[in-house]
Each structure stands twice: as structure tokens, then as C-alpha cells.
């Protein structure tokens, strides 16, 4: 500690000199960084806008009543429609959701409410995380080996089960996280009334988490509705309507892929039209399920 009050001024001059020298450059660097971030934001937004514009622009012209209700005409003719694909998507995604949503929610409930410390819940969480990152083409292979080969045919079942494998980890994670947010006091109240844990979970905890869980399901279903790769080797894709759960079927993403690889303008137009339908369906799904959720949710205040 110095007694001389003037000694702290010793460095003042050199500090201020250095600082003043470097000031301009620092301000320029700051401005450049800001500009760079804005450019990057634009770089992300422009493709999105372009995608939406192109899908709408090119897709709208292909849509007609025939497009939505008829199977495809002969290749290159530009006649017919993609009705089997629409039907197929609804069936396969619907079946996958029927399998995936309940299992996912139940497993999420397990992890949040019933799991004790131990290796089993840790394993479940770990492998759930692993599953979320698996490439969907690999899931398709699994569907092929496990189901197509066992049943002997490309089938709705194989496709649905493959899609459910993609869906479940997403639902599990969202369910667990949503349930964790529900205040512990809710469960405490139930315990103190002597209600069983199952009852508490079903009647108290779950309803208050309904919104979040439903959102998670919607996200997962939207995701699998757009998946193409797993369908390639499970449902095969046909130009026919649904024949049975063990038979092949078409689906929108698959149809788009096939149409895009054909050399005909009319096929490409159909492709854009199908893309538009796919996006509209996914949108309708999100909006629809959210709407249902709003109407049926308990408003629980803390």
C-alpha cells in the first residue's frame, strides 16, 4: 500500500495513451463482427424463404381434384394423382403414432416418476439419447431385416414400426422433461392424501403436463411424416392403394423422391405438388393437435 497519493497516477498516462491508440481498431472490429452476424442471419433466412416460395409456387399449379383423388397415370403422361401416397402417409404415420406415442409417453413417465437410482434408468436414458441420433436409413435397415424379411413382404407394418423407432425417443425425452417441470408439491399433496402413485400420476401430474406432452407428440409425428429413408426399404412404395397391413403402400416423401428422379417435367410438377400437400398436412397436424390441447387443458395455477 502506498502512502503517496500521486503514485497511482504513474501509469495513468501510459494506459491512456495505449488505450487511445487501439481504440479505433477495436471499434472497427466490433462493427465488422456485428455485420457478419447479420449477414449470417440473412444467409439462414433466405433459403427458408426460398424453399417456402418454391414449394408454394410450383406446387399450387399441380394441385387439382384429380391430383388428390386419383392414383398415378402412366409414367410421363402427367395424368392421375398421388392419392395412394396421401392415403399411405396417413395410414403408416397413423399406425406409427399409435405404437409410438403411448410407449413413448409411458416410458417418459417411468423415467420421471417411477425410476429410482440405478443402472436401469441410466441405461434407458443413455440408449434413448443414442436412439435419437440414429440415421433414419439405418432404422430402415432394421425394419427391413427385422420385419420385411420375417414377414416376407414389404409392408405397412414394417414402415410403421420403423417410424415408431424414430418417434419413441423424441416423445420419451419431451415427456420426461415436461413432467419434471410439474411442481413437486402436486405429488406431495396426493401422497399426503394416501393416494397411490399411479393415481397421482394419472389424475394429477399428467393432466397438468398435457400441453407439453402433446406438443412433444406433435413434434415427433411431424418429424416422422417427413421421413423418406426408412420407407425406402420397408414399404417399397407402389402406385396402388392400401391393400393390407402386410402389404406395400405408398407414402408422400417416397413418392416425391421417385417423382424427382424421373426425367419428365410433369413428374417434377407432381413432385412439387406432393411437397406442398406434405407440408400442408404437417402444418394441419401441428395446428390441429395444438387446438385440441388448448380446449382440453386444465388451467392449473401454482
Amino acid at each position: 500500500m502506498t502512502d503517496d497519493p500521486r503514485s497511482s497516477k504513474k501509469y495513468s498516462k501510459i494506459v491512456h495513451e495505449t488505450v487511445n491508440k487501439k481504440y479505433k481498431k477495436r471499434i472497427i472490429v466490433n462493427k465488422l463482427v456485428t455485420i457478419f452476424t447479420i449477414v449470417c442471419v440473412i444467409a439462414a433466412v433466405v433459403p427458408l424463404a426460398s424453399i417456402l416460395i418454391e414449394v408454394i409456387k410450383n406446387g399450387v399449379s399441380a394441385i387439382s381434384f384429380e391430383f388428390l383423388t386419383q392414383p398415378q397415370g402412366s409414367i410421363g403422361s402427367g395424368s392421375g394423382g398421388i392419392a395412394p401416397a396421401i392415403q399411405g402417409t396417413i395410414i403408416v404415420v397413423g399406425l406409427a403414432s399409435l405404437i409410438g406415442a403411448p410407449i413413448g409417453v409411458l416410458a417418459g413417465i417411468y423415467l420421471s416418476e417411477f425410476a429410482r437410482e440405478g443402472i436401469f434408468p441410466d441405461l434407458v436414458r443413455f440408449f434413448n439419447d443414442v436412439l435419437t441420433g440414429l440415421p433414419s436409413i439405418v432404422i430402415g435397415i432394421v425394419g427391413y431385416v427385422a420385419i420385411v424379411l420375417s414377414i416376407g413382404s414389404f409392408s405397412v407394418l414394417a414402415g410403421a414400426i420403423s417410424l415408431s423407432i424414430i418417434m419413441i425417443p423424441i416423445v420419451v425425452r419431451v415427456t420426461e422433461e415436461t413432467l419434471k417441470i410439474v411442481p413437486y408439491s402436486f405429488r406431495e399433496a396426493g401422497h399426503s392424501l394416501g393416494i397411490s402413485k399411479a393415481r397421482i400420476t394419472l389424475s394429477i401430474v399428467l393432466p397438468s403436463a398435457k400441453n407439453g406432452i402433446l406438443t412433444g407428440i406433435v413434434i415427433a409425428v411431424s418429424r416422422i411424416a417427413g421421413e423418406t429413408a426408412p420407407l425406402i426399404m420397408t414399404i417399397l412404395g407402389t402406385s396402388l392403394f392400401f391393400t393390407g397391413i402386410t402389404g406395400p403402400v405408398d407414402a408422400l416423401p417416397l413418392r416425391i423422391w421417385r417423382l424427382a428422379s424421373q426425367p419428365y417435367e410433369s413428374a417434377h410438377a407432381f413432385g412439387w405438388g406432393s411437397a406442398l400437400i406434405l407440408i400442408l398436412m404437417i402444418l394441419a397436424l401441428s395446428v390441429g393437435l395444438r387446438f385440441l390441447a388448448q380446449r382440453n387443458t386444465f388451467k392449473v395455477s401454482a
Binding site: 497519493p5 500521486r6 503514485s7 497516477k9 504513474k10 494506459v15 491508440k21
Partner: protein, 283 residues
């Protein structure tokens, strides 16, 4: 290193002034410069005016305390003095704050420039967690472009000495800043601020998160530092203000109620509101 003449002259006046017993009267009468002149300052959070029309002149090389009940605007006023107030989303301030003849709110002034001449110490110590003690103190200098290792080392040592921390850490400068105790971390933050050679040091309730021993160390530090830096300290602890400051400003609900020498404020407050706060009738 050459020492600027005016400062020497001022110090002579102030030193002489302090030595007399009736220092309050003398200080008010003498013609020494004010370090910071606060003129008609308003501070806003969106549409809500948190401090109204504050006029206040802060004396150089002295400790000025802002006191008042919570919500009175003392911290807002403090943060207006180094243009940190406007960093809160939606917040802005108007009026003039003249430091050494320069209005820091002038349109042509970049706040970045202001903040290195007016340092700040915060309520909770906030050393940079990934930096060593040395790097923490040198952080401001490095950020502002100083690279000369010798000078950095000298300034770091001097700053740590001025912050009464050197003896405790001189052999451990490479240790992480977070490895120190709360009181030491706060002194580290003071050293970090001092390294920038500020002319004014703003302290926002610097001891409120410390234990009594840590607090008294900081208070002792303030008393010594004021000879080289003008200090403005916000405190919710009246006794601290009485112990440490030369001048005190009492604020209430955004208004400056009374300002004067600490002795006078605490012994013979002019306003009734001041008197009631001082005697603990509300707080």
C-alpha cells in the same frame, strides 16, 4: 513519470481543507473543482421514471455516499454515471453528467470510452471465472489493447497493492480468480477496476454480500483509496456511510432529498425526511 500540475494544486487545497476541524464549511467555501457534476439527470426504465431531476456535484478525491431505502434510485443514479444504466433493455437516461468538463451523455461520446475512465465494482464480486488472478486484474488493460508484459506486470502488482490484496496473493497469481474467498474476490474486482487507472470509482453496495471482516477490510480500503480516486459508493448500510464517506446524498423514491457533508447529514439533517431515515424510522 511527469505528474500533472493541476492535480497537485488541487490536492494541496483539499489536504489543507481536510486538516481543519470545521472542514465541512471550508470545503464548501473553497473553489476547488468538482470531479463529477450531475445536472438534471433523469433515469427511465421504459416509461417509468426511476430518478427525477437529480442535481449533485461530487467533490474530487473524496468519498461520496448515496443512501436511501431500497427502490429509492441510488443504484440507478450510480449506473447513470458510467452509462451502464442504458444497457438494461428499455432503459435510458437524460440530463448531463459532466466529468472533468466533459458531458458523458454528449451525442459524440462513445460509452466505451467513458467506462474505462470511470470504473465500477459490483454488489456481488464477479471475477472472470476462467481467468487467473493475474489475468483478472490485467483483463481491462488487455481488452483495451495493452500488450507490454512488463508494464502489465507492474500495473497488476500496483493495483493489487492498492486493493490491499497483494500480500495475500503475490505468490499465487496464476491461481484461478474464483479460488479466493468472497472478500478477496471483491478486492480482486477492485484491483481489476483500479488497473484501468480510473479517475472515478463507482461502488455499488460492495460489501453487502460479504461477512463483517471482509466488509471492514473494504471500508478501510476505501478510506485510503480516496486520496487517489474519487469514490462514489452506494450503500444501504447507514453506519457504513457514516464511517466511510465525506459527503452523503440521501435519496427517496427517485428524488435527491438532501446532500451535504456526512457530518452534517448525520448530525444535523436539514430535511425532516432525512432525519426520519437516519433515525431508522423507516428503511
Amino acid at each position: 513519470m511527469a505528474i500533472e500540475e493541476p492535480i497537485e494544486a488541487d490536492e494541496a487545497i483539499l489536504k489543507g481543507a481536510r486538516e481543519s476541524t470545521s472542514e465541512t464549511k471550508k470545503v464548501q467555501e473553497s473553489t476547488e473543482k468538482y470531479k463529477v457534476r450531475i445536472e438534471k439527470v433523469n433515469g427511465w426504465y421504459g416509461a417509468k421514471r426511476a430518478i427525477k431531476d437529480v442535481n449533485l456535484n461530487v467533490k474530487d478525491k473524496a468519498v461520496t455516499a448515496f443512501i436511501g431505502p431500497s427502490g429509492c434510485g441510488k443504484t440507478t443514479l450510480l449506473r447513470c454515471l458510467n452509462r451502464m444504466h442504458e444497457m438494461t433493455p428499455g432503459a435510458h437516461a437524460d440530463g448531463r453528467v459532466v466529468v472533468d468538463g466533459i458531458d458523458i451523455y454528449d451525442k459524440s461520446i462513445d460509452p466505451v470510452v467513458i467506462r474505462r475512465r470511470i470504473g465500477m465494482v459490483f454488489q456481488k464480486p464477479n471475477p472472470f471465472p476462467t481467468m487467473s488472478i493475474f489475468d483478472n486484474v490485467a483483463a481491462g488493460l488487455r481488452l483495451n489493447g495493452m500488450k507490454n508484459k512488463t508494464i502489465l506486470r507492474e500495473i497488476v502488482e500496483e493495483s493489487l497493492k492498492n486493493a490491499a490484496l497483494w500480500e495475500e496473493v503475490k505468490n499465487e497469481l496464476e491461481k484461478p480468480g474464483m479460488s479466493l474467498s468472497g472478500g478477496q474476490q471483491q478486492r480482486l474486482c477492485i484491483a481489476r477496476a483500479l488497473a484501468m487507472q480510473p479517475e472515478v470509482l463507482l461502488m455499488d453496495e460492495p460489501t453487502s454480500s460479504l461477512d463483517p471482516i471482509g466488509s471492514s477490510k473494504i471500508e478501510e480500503l476505501v478510506r485510503i483509496l480516496k486520496d487517489s480516486v474519487t469514490i462514489i459508493i452506494v450503500t444501504h448500510n447507514m453506519q457504513q456511510a457514516a464511517r466511510v464517506s465525506d459527503f452523503t446524498a440521501f435519496m427517496y423514491l427517485g428524488d435527491l432529498i438532501e446532500y451535504g457533508a456526512t457530518n452534517q447529514i448525520f448530525m444535523k439533517p436539514e430535511k425532516e425526511l432525512t432525519e426520519r431515515y437516519i433515525s431508522g424510522k423507516f428503511g
